[in-house]
């Protein structure tokens, strides 16, 4: 089921890229339909996995990668529905493809098997924490794709078929603004879970540090754009930096803990 969803997403991405190249309305419509299908099939795959495991599919690294890709696609489709700009898909769906490729190809089959979870991971706060983080990260991924489009637009002002820079920037801001409360909720729910599981709501572990860095970067983005009038390239690069921090939180920290021989409780 997950592989079918991935194939549908891959098809949607190719169609969005074709739309970018040839600007045919029908290509955009078919791409959106394929992306919607991918979203439904991936959701069904996640639900079936949850049913098979007898729990929410929100605990392992593999499951979070799936959820991250799904949330990126969901956030993108909401954006396309609001803006009616299929060209955005050519820049955003490749990121969802990347995340799902990492999930489906980057883990050995033993790690992809749905297993029962250890008692410490059985908490409603963990579920809220993970779901919120995935939604926040998904919005961040969409904002990153939009920022790449913005930078392309800036470099090629005469390029045909690309929306005006201000439309792209507004959509990026809206996406970050929509995702940021989820990132905040993820930190809050994670703190509550850590307090009940480990006896401290914040332990300055590498994972926690980078989750905070990610949150601070997006806060600077929103603060700067809403109150200080930051525009243009600076915002685009900040959105990309936020996404880079997101990836660091998700995959980079595990590497860092291993490379620097640091200690972390966030190993599941």
């Amino acid at each position: 089921m997950l592989n079918i969803g991935f194939d549908a997403l891959l098809a949607a991405t190719l169609l969005y890229l074709a739309y970018l190249a040839w600007q045919r309305l029908w290509l955009g419509q078919v791409a959106a339909a394929a992306a919607g299908l991918a979203l439904l099939v991936l959701a069904a795959g996640l639900v079936l996995r949850g049913v098979a495991a007898g729990r929410w599919p929100l605990t392992s690294h593999f499951e979070f990668a799936l959820l991250f890709g799904w949330a990126t696609l969901a956030a993108y489709l909401l954006l396309e529905r609001a803006t009616r700009q299929p060209v955005f898909g050519a820049f955003v769906t490749p990121l969802a493809v990347g995340m799902l490729s990492y999930a489906l190809l980057g883990f050995p089959s033993a790690e992809r098997v749905a297993r029962p979870v250890s008692p410490v991971l059985r908490s409603v706060w963990l579920e809220i924490h993970v779901l919120s983080a995935a939604l926040g990260y998904g919005a961040g991924a969409v904002a990153a794709g939009m920022s790449v489009l913005f930078l392309v637009r800036e470099r090629r002002p005469q390029a045909e078929g690309l929306p005006a820079a201000e439309i792209i920037e507004a959509a990026t801001r809206q996406t970050v603004a929509a995702g940021f409360p989820f990132l905040s909720l993820a930190l809050l729910a994670g703190a509550i879970w850590a307090q009940t599981a480990w006896g401290h709501y914040w332990g300055w572990e590498p994972k926690e540090c980078w989750a905070l860095v990610t949150w601070l970067v997006y806060l600077v983005f929103l603060h700067g754009s809403a109150l200080r009038g930051w525009r243009g390239r600076r915002l685009a690069w900040l959105a990309l930096l936020g996404f880079a921090c997101t990836l660091m939180t998700f995959v980079g920290v595990d590497w860092l803990v291993e490379a620097a021989r640091l200690e972390s409780l966030h190993v599941f």
């Binding site: 509550i192 006896g199 601070l216």
Partner: protein, 356 residues
């Protein structure tokens, strides 16, 4: 002296200072994540430091002396965090009255000079009050009308209450720092090892006794849940009997009892509890709720104000401002102006002036 203090006050309250302090805090947090940190349990420090000396050699002493092994409790981190707290505090105080007045609807009518400095404005040749009213009140929002010396001012607003989200966000951040400080200064943790079931073990103000130990398993035999049946004793008398499970601590007189570990042994089950008293925790969580609600409303529900000013010279000025999407707001202003034009049948409006 007073002048210097006033200058310092206004400097620390500037939005730019707060923004760069946030950047500084992010950089210091990222740096701290790269440094190995002393474990929270002081009993484990000696062994940890020996291992650090093996790993870093003579550099370990320098790192320890300069506070890098306890980076997040050192001035390296608390200097920018403290500066940010100060900046937030001053920023909130400076803007409190204005934000509260706007958020609670007590908006002062801007003068024509102030309106002329608004980022977006369109002037339409008409003195038709009905047109202005129809345009502004045609939407979903309340329109307020103020007659001023023969001229009329109409106000249309969106998401006014969301301005209070700014206060919630700043208050949340301040409470978060206060709560974290209380946790750090007044929080107490004690590891409680129960190696003989049935015998009370002192926790401090009371004692605990392990009456039973259960492990639930999945069909494959892996553990699904651990449960310690614990009795809490005060002055030798059982005052509460509660099961303590992983993620479900027991509580008595402000102390949480967390199940941390279990070792089966020949003499019976050895159970490790953590007795935790953290007076800052609830404040931190309340701060987190305020912060989450504040950021949601502040950044997702931008406050928009639109004024219609009927001047003596037969023109209507539409002027507005927003804390959110500027381009979208400019487009909406143009649509409003277009609707006004249709009502009164004058020339098409000129595009909005972005003059700041």
């Amino acid at each position: 002296m007073k002048g210097i203090l006033r200058q310092a006050w206004h400097y620390w309250g500037r939005l730019g200072v707060a923004t760069w302090l946030l950047v500084g805090l992010a950089l210091m947090t990222a740096l701290g994540s790269l440094l190995p940190q002393l474990p929270p349990n002081p009993a484990a420090h000696a062994g940890w430091l020996r291992a650090a000396e093996d790993k870093f050699g003579p550099l370990a002493r320098v790192m320890r002396a300069s506070g890098l092994f306890s980076f997040f409790r050192s001035p390296w981190f608390w200097a920018p965090a403290g500066a940010l707290t100060l900046s937030l505090f001053i920023c909130t105080l400076i803007r409190f009255r204005t934000v509260w007045r706007i958020g609670t609807g007590r908006v002062r009518r801007p003068t024509s000079e102030e309106l002329s400095r608004y980022r977006y404005q369109v002037r339409i040749r008409t003195a038709d009050l009905a047109a202005a009213r129809a345009v502004l009140s045609g939407g979903r929002f309340r329109t307020r009308e103020t007659p001023v010396k023969g001229r009329i001012v109409l106000l249309d607003e969106r998401n006014r209450l969301a301005r209070l989200g700014t206060l919630a966000m700043h208050l949340g951040l301040l409470l978060l720092l206060v709560g974290a400080t209380i946790s750090g200064l007044a929080g107490r943790r004690k590891s409680v090892i129960i190696s003989r079931p049935g015998e009370p073990v002192s926790v401090g103000p009371f004692a605990v006794r392990l009456d039973g130990w259960h492990v639930d398993t999945y069909p494959d035999g892996s553990p699904a849940d651990y449960r310690a049946d614990v009795a809490i004793l005060q002055d030798g008398r059982v005052v509460r009997e509660a099961p303590i499970r992983v993620n479900h601590p027991g509580r008595y007189r402000g102390v949480s009892l967390l199940l941390m570990g279990h070792t089966p042994s020949a003499g019976g089950d050895r159970v490790e509890l953590l007795a935790l008293h953290d007076p800052g925790y609830l404040l931190v969580i309340a701060a987190g709720v305020l912060l989450t609600a504040g950021v949601g409303t502040t950044f997702y529900l931008p406050h928009e104000q639109m004024w219609a000013w009927m001047a003596d010279d037969g023109t209507m000025t539409l002027a507005g401002r927003t804390t959110g999407n500027q381009a979208g707001f400019a487009r909406r202003l143009m649509r409003l102006a277009e609707r006004a034009r249709q009502h009164v049948g004058t020339d098409p409006p000129s595009p909005p002036q972005a003059d700041s």
